[in-house]
Amino acid sequence: MTSPDATDRPRARSDVLFRQLDDEWVVYDPKRDRVHALNLSAAMVWSLCTGERGAAEIAEAVGESFTPPQPAAHILADVEASIARFRAEGLLE
């Protein structure tokens, strides 16, 4: 078995800024001067895009933070959709 390709472990671009504003979260892409508003679950996914975890591991970490905890399998599709959106917006390396 081979280790997952780097593209399977999403990594946020180092120049993209992440900030909480009141009870909401935004990522700001300075290259495009574009702001993306995130809900809590998307913000959690974003903060786990460090290049160390794949989507399944991110789903597991996000699922564990819910009360009550959610099985990773239940939220994997949503996590993958968030990552796909970050990638489509050019926010990942």
């Binding site: 800024l17 009141d22 300075p30 574009r34």
Partner: protein
């Protein structure tokens, strides 16, 4: 700004004399000179003294009406024309070949000054026009000053009024502060990180750069100071570096949090950049310090108090819809077609807004029209007062 403000500017004799010498050097007989942000017209008068055939002095502030009288009293009225407003509304009737401009923010060029100068280059200048100042260099230096940081920090010890102010810490650490950095707080004389030629379009990345610095002494580093030095031409230079007070520009203190414990001779890589906005104007400032003791970054975006709504309203993706105030503004502007007085417009407005008195409606109309109209007195042609 009151006349007292302009009086204080006139007291800065070192700055004004340096500009006088530079203008004498840079303006040649027959030149057409444009001064932007002319205030009381001092530099416009110097340009006329240097032999300019015509000088246009542009300023949006009503002080320009005082300046016009000063020009008349001092014999400049035939050569110096005062235009109230800002480009592109207030524009000379001939292209200028010399520009005088010194209305700089502490960072030299923010988006507003950058757009103003780009507009001037595009619309008001003859080919090969010269600028006074001709250009500027930008500098960074590391700073050690616990006092400075204490003054800026909200969450000091003991806590003010017994409250928890820690929410302000991120904002303070990521804000460029226009404060007076004492010269003795510098850990290095300053490294040049950028260079600007005002006669050419300035790319945002020229307003910053990277430098390698060795610190003079062991100290806790609390931030960077960012300043500029203007090249006025003719060998004249003016700086807003710590310890210099030639103008009203000031310099910027860029905090780092937490401080870095530096040893004498430690090498730092310091950098600053202005994130380019979509029109290439310089936007948010970002700074970075890398050293043996650690790495620190600051970014204006992280320091600016705002809500998601503020950000989305400024976004190109937002779908705008007029608020009730916006709808009133639209109605007022549509009624200002050159046939109705303010009172007439207010009278019509009251039909939709019966809660308003005539006087309140008139005040509202004037507020919505400000900056968007030219005006004439009623029946100016028929009064018979003129001849």
């Amino acid at each position: 700004m009151s006349l007292l403000y302009y009086r204080q500017l006139l007291r800065q004799s070192r700055r004004i004399e340096a500009f006088r010498r530079a203008i004498r050097h840079g303006v040649r007989p027959g030149d057409r000179v444009l001064e932007i942000g002319s205030g009381l017209g001092t530099f416009a008068f110097f340009a006329a003294d240097a032999g300019a055939a015509r000088v246009w002095a542009v300023d949006g502030h009503p002080v320009i009406h005082v300046a016009r009288t000063i020009a008349r009293l001092n014999g400049y009225a035939d050569r110096v024309t005062f235009l109230r407003g800002w480009l592109p509304d207030a524009v000379p009737d001939e292209p200028a070949n010399v520009v005088i401009f010194e209305d700089f923010p502490p960072r030299l060029l923010d988006a507003s000054a950058w757009r103003l100068l780009r507009g001037v280059r595009r619309t008001a200048l003859a080919p090969g026009a010269r600028f006074v100042p001709a250009g500027a260099d930008l500098f960074l230096a590391p700073v050690s000053s616990e006092d400075l940081l204490r003054e800026l920090t909200l969450d000091g010890e003991p806590p003010l009024y017994g409250l928890d102010w820690s929410a302000g810490r991120e904002a303070v650490a990521n804000t460029p502060h226009r404060v007076n950095v004492p010269r003795e707080a510098l850990l290095h004389a300053g490294a040049r990180v950028g260079c600007v030629d005002f006669a050419r379009d300035v790319a945002a990345d020229q307003l910053g750069g990277v430098a390698e610095i060795s610190v003079d002494r062991a100290a806790a580093m609390h931030g960077l100071v960012y300043w500029f030095e203007l090249n006025l031409g003719g060998g004249e230079r003016l700086s807003n570096a710590p310890g210099e007070t030639p103008g009203s520009w000031g310099h910027l203190f860029l905090p780092i949090d937490p401080p870095l414990a530096l040893a004498a001779g430690d090498r730092l890589t310091v950098s600053i950049r202005a994130e380019p906005l979509p029109d290439q104007a310089p936007g948010w400032l970002a700074w970075d310090v890398a050293s043996r003791a650690g790495r620190r970054r600051g970014h204006e975006f992280l320091g600016t108090p705002m809500s998601v709504t503020d950000l989305l309203e400024a976004s190109r993706d937002s779908v705008p819809e007029l608020t009730p105030r916006g709808k009133t503004a639209l109605r007022v502007l549509a009624l200002a077609d050159g046939t109705r007085s303010v009172s007439d417009i207010a009278h019509i407005l009251i039909r939709d807004r019966p809660d308003l008195s005539q006087a309140e409606a008139e005040r509202l109309v004037i507020a919505h029209l400000r900056g968007s109209i030219t005006s004439k007195a009623p029946g100016a042609e028929e009064t018979g007062y003129g001849f």
